[in-house]
Every structure is written in C-alpha cells, then in structure tokens.
C-alpha cells in the first residue's frame, strides 16, 4: 500500500516516544556530572607518583633516575635530581627528585614512562575530571600534586598494584637475603681464625 511505510515509521517513533516515559531502561544516556559509568580497570588518564607509607616525601619511590624524562615522547616531564640522599621507605639511602613536574596539557597519556620506570614509582591515574581556569599553571602538576599513596594505587588498579607489590616484596626479600648472606659470610669470616696466608706462585692462573 502507498504510504504504509510512513505510517509504520510514525508508529515506531510514537512507540519510542511513549516508551521512554514508561520504562527507564530506554533512556541510556548517563547524566554525566551526577551519574558516572563505573571505570574499567585498565582506564588511564595522566601519570602520578606512588609513595609507600604515610609521608609522601619520605615514602616516594622515585629515585630521580630520569629515564622517564628521557623517554617521554612529548617531553612533558621535568626532573631535577637532589644533591643529597635520603633514606627511602625501606631505610636505604637514595637520591630523590628535588623537582618533578608533569605538564598534563602536553602529556599524551602514552604510558611509556610507566613502562620504563625500574622502580614502579610512576603509574597511570584514572582521574579525568581536571578542568581548570588557568591553562598554564593549573595544568602543570608539581611533585606534591603528583604524589599519591600506594593505597590509592590499590584502589584504582587493584590487580596491577597487587602484582607490583608482590614483585617489590620479592625483590626486597631477595635483597635482604643477599645482604643477610653477605653479612653472615662476613661474620663467619670474622669469627673464624685467620688462616695462614697461602703462598701463591707468581704467575698463577688467573681466575
């Protein structure tokens, strides 16, 4: 029949019109500032610095090796290495970044800094709600703004953070075991009576 397509179409749109009042499932739009979609775990926005413990300055994992600064494709990271050394979370003396700035107006969220960091110090944040009235200073994040706790890291990327923690713990355990073995050896060496010095023939085989 002539015109039945139009009538069918009108019926369909009318069904949508009234249906949207009857069932909420039809309204798929998320009303953004009030409602937000749950974030997927692999979401990422901009990098942040992880610190262990409670104090962000003391617990900072970053040792200012500057690999990320060199690798960063858009060159948005600025690091100035400290002159002195401070004990880190495990008590070991480490260098630390005197200045660590990331310009997130330049950052392209490529995650290369995260890939290259040997200390698991820099990770990707998920916070995308970063509008500011000042597009220069407001988007240049300094060390303090970048520092976020390990608990926060666990919150936003639980699987990844657990893996990182396990790796770090294993590393530290290995280091501790090695140190202990070395210490034991030294202690044993000190305890044992000094053996008579063996005379080595001149020109002995090199080891």
């Amino acid at each position: 029949m002539f015109g039945d397509g139009i009538l069918k179409g009108l019926a369909e749109t009318a069904r949508n019109f009234f249906g949207s009042y009857r069932s909420k499932n039809r309204l798929t739009t998320i009303q953004y500032p009030e409602e937000r979609l749950p974030q997927i775990e692999a979401a990422r926005s901009f990098p942040f610095l992880v610190y262990d413990g409670a104090d962000w300055q003391q617990g900072m994992r970053c040792v200012a090796c500057q690999i990320c600064e060199k690798e960063c494709p858009p060159k948005c990271i600025l690091i100035k290495k400290s002159a002195d050394k401070k004990p880190d979370a495990t008590g070991k003396l480490q260098a630390y970044p005197a200045v660590f700035d990331i310009d997130i107006s330049v950052c392209m969220s490529c995650q290369i800094c995260v890939e290259v960091c040997p200390f698991d110090a820099i990770k990707m944040d998920v916070d995308y709600d970063l509008p500011t009235a000042d597009r220069f200073a407001g988007l240049l994040l300094d060390k303090q703004k970048l520092s976020k706790s390990n608990q926060y890291y666990h919150q936003i990327h639980p699987t990844e953070a657990a893996a990182v923690d396990a790796a770090l713990a294993a590393e530290r355990a290995a280091a501790a075991a090695k140190a202990k073995a070395a210490a034991d050896a030294a202690a044993a060496k000190a305890a044992a009576p000094a053996p008579a010095p063996q005379v080595q023939p001149a020109g002995g085989e090199p080891r």
Binding site: I6, G9, L10, T13, A14, N16, F17, S20, T29
Partner: protein
Amino acid sequence: MTQTLDQIFVIAKAWLLGYLPVAARPLASAVLCVIAIVITFPLLFAITTWLERKGLGRIQNRLGPNRTGPFGLFQPIADAIKSLTKEDIVPLTADHAVHFLAPLLLVAAAFLAYAVLPVGRNMVLVNLNAGVLFFFAVGSVVELSVFMAGWSSRSKYSLLGAMRAIAQMISYEVPLVLATVAVIMQAGSLSTVDIVNQQATYTHTLPHWFVFTPWGFVGFVLFMIAATAESNRSPFDLPEGESEIIAGYYIEYSGFKFALFFLGEYLGMFATSGMAITLFLGGWAAPFSFLTWIPSYVWFFLKLLALIGFFIWIRGTLPRLRMDQLMNLAWEFVLPMALLNMLVAGVWHFMPHGLLRWLVCTAIVAIPCILLAAGLKRKKKFQVRTYQFAE
C-alpha cells in the same frame, strides 16, 4: 459568561480604545492587534523550540534539554541570551546591505501573514476580502528573502542552499495554492473570516469542517505536504540539510541574525499551519457543538499545537528526501492530485447530497492516487554503479 470569556480580548480592546479620541481609534486598534501578534507568536516559537527538542529527544530515547530550570523550560531564554550576546560576523566580501536586510525581510513577511489569520471569533487583524490571496502573496516574499540571504553571503554553500530553497519553494507553492483553490471554490469567498464562519456550523453535534469531505481531506493532506516543504522542515529540509550544506542559505549568519532566521522559519510554519486550520480544520470552531463553551481562541491554539506536534513527529520519523525525489513528488504526485482535487470539489458541489456523492468523489480521488503512487514507485530502477578506477 461563556460569551464574555470568548470575547474577552475583543472587549478589552474596545475598553482600552474608549479612552482615545475617535479619530485615533482605527490606528490604535491596529497597533494593539499587532502588539498582541508580535508577543504571542514569538512566545509560541519559544515554547515550540522547547517542545521540539523535548519531543525529538523522547523519540530518540533521550531526555532532551533538562539543565535550565524545571524540565529545561528556560532553555529558550538561555538560547535567546546566547544568540543576543554572540558576535555578529559579516563576511568581508558579502553585500552588507542585502546581508543585513534578508533576515529582517523574512521575519517581517512572516509576521505580515498573521494579519489575515482569524485566531478566534472576531479576532482578526484585518478582514480582507482577498485574505487568502494576501496570505500567499506575503508568503512568497519569504522566497525573496531566502535568495537575498543566499546571494549576498558570497558563499558556495549559501548559494547552493538558496537555489535549492527557491526550486523547492516554487515547486511546492503551486500545489499549496491549488489545494486552497478547492476550498475557495466551495466557500465562494477569499476572506478567511468567511471561510471559517462557513465551517463553524453543526449538524447534530458534528461540525462542517472541510476536512470531513473527500476533496477537503485530500486537499488537507496535499496542503500539509506542501506546507512542510514551504517551511523547509524535515523531510523536505534540503535547503538547510546539515549533512550536505551545513545550514544552507543562512550559513554565513551568526548571533541574532541567525536567531531571526530561525524565528522567521518557525513563524512561517505557524502561519501555514494556521492557514491549514483556517481552510480545512474549521479555524477557531469547536470540534463538537457541545464544546462551544470553550473560548474560540483556545480551540485555535489547541489545533495549532496539535499540528506543530505533528510536524515534530514527522521530523523525528522521516529521513531527508533526495532532490530528484523531492521534485518528482511535487510535479508527478502532489500537483496532479491538487488539480484533480479541484475537479472533485466541483463534482461535490453539483451532485445531489447523499451516499452516491461520497462514493463518486472518493473514487475520483482514490483511483488516480493509487495509480500515481504506483507510477512513483515503478520508476525506481537503480543500477549497480561500476567504477573504472575506484574499486
């Protein structure tokens, strides 16, 4: 009481005019009516933009505007503030005078059309004895202003849009007027007031609207098709097809001039809808004789809102036509049907009352309609396009 309520605006005007000297009264009366029109219909425009965005949103399973005020009701105010405070950019190479005049002319022409539209009993600005003629004469000024806008902007998109608009508007103006001719033949008058008065009578409880006759129904459908095309609304919105030529003839306009184009377009739509109501849907007459206690202007605006709602519904349903489809529809279907409808109106007038008249008139309309529709359908033979290089 119902009489007073029905005539309350007429009484109020007479009361206001009573304070003026007799010599000043005709002018003051006209000015008062003009003020009423200039306030009412832009207000209706504001409501319609909100209704349209809400309605289209719901059709697409969205909420529509909901940020400004309750249910987004203040959206038109926000839009007005936005367009008023925007920079008014005129292209460097544009013809400045014509570029400035085009939106003004469009709005002025759209407002002029309301002069002959009876919005209620005794509520018409001027009862011209050639009212319908005046309406269509003023309506064709819109084409002039559209081409002024397209030509003066010095932009290819503007010009393309204007050319499409002219082709479309002229093609559809013919069936628009021809569909009206049937009503004029039957009513024997070009005065809009007379035409409404003839429809405002009842047999038992049923009204004598022209839409309830075979020629009236066909005329109404044809008139609405042509009116949709005349007001550049979807599915006939080729002159401003967003996906093709962005905004068509008013692409080079910004700020308040752009808003004026929008206003003019919607005012034109209301005017043609009002004319359709006047010609076919009994104007301000109530649909049943026992409902005549509701004031006449309420009925007029209810009918107008219903037609606007239908326009929105159509816009939410149909995709845009292609240019050749548009022209084929105008010249191969709407125009022959409109011509045939005039014949039917004559047959209806001269045949004796009864069932036979209905049967004959319906047959004269229905059979060619089906044949013409089949003709429109049969022509669609498309070949698979083959390309020499791009494959």
